[in-house]
Symmetry: C2
Subunit: 140 residues, 2 copies
């Protein structure tokens, strides 16, 4: 079951400048940084609020580290902006993805991959989700 | 102070079909519907989770009701997808917007306007927010 907005993924050209904007403008706290080599991105997770399921909602700022990464191609086409949204599940992400696939939505990975802060993730095809690239997240 | 992700605004061509997708695929509850004549949209608010500040996070599905509305023009250019993100404030939205304007971000309305479910809102210019149309929300 999906129990929260886990994060909003925002693609940017310059991670430090974008983090600085969010901290300066809104007073958000210092984020958690990490590199996801598989996705080809550096990212900053800014926690916005706790959620009723005992987890939290974040902004995920993502900057490509390779020109051939999916996010680099997306940025070249669209410019900076909201790249995807992510829902958190209270169960197993593989089971969640299988249940969603059974409703006719294409799941992008055959098996879950590594997401932010130790999570396991999968993505749903935006053409099956009214234009929204949608991620499913299982916290560690 | 901004204390939550209030909602993610998603533009769509057919509100009923998009609501049906979210309910069928993820099991989300029946939404709250309303029309915002000023914004030129019909909308459905799907509650996703409670938030630590005593409010909640929603998906806001929006369908234009006039061809000259901002959302209709955005849809014609971009197709269906994430249109804006919204943060909730625990204070007065006019004060919040003034504070943000003081940091060099353009605020779109001179005074707050009516948002979903009795809220007061304002918007920040996406070009000043790294490409993200950003809304500030004060709950009633």
């Amino acid at each position: 079951m999906l129990t929260r907005i886990d994060h909003i993924g925002i693609a940017c050209h310059d991670l430090e400048a974008t983090v600085a904007f969010y901290k300066r403008t809104y007073g958000f706290d210092e984020p958690h940084y990490e590199v996801n080599e598989e996705q080809g991105v550096r990212e900053a997770m800014l926690k916005i609020n706790d959620t009723g399921d005992g987890a939290a909602s974040y902004l995920q700022l993502i900057e490509p580290i390779r020109e051939d990464s999916a996010v680099a191609k997306w940025l070249a086409k669209n410019g900076e902006g909201v790249h995807h949204i992510a829902f958190g599940t209270d169960g197993d992400v593989a089971d969640e993805a299988a249940g969603i696939a059974g409703k006719g939505v294409r799941v992008l990975y055959e098996a879950p991959r590594n997401g932010s802060m130790g999570s396991l993730i999968n993505f749903l095809h935006p053409k099956d989700c009214h234009g929204v690239l949608t991620e499913i997240v299982q916290k560690p």
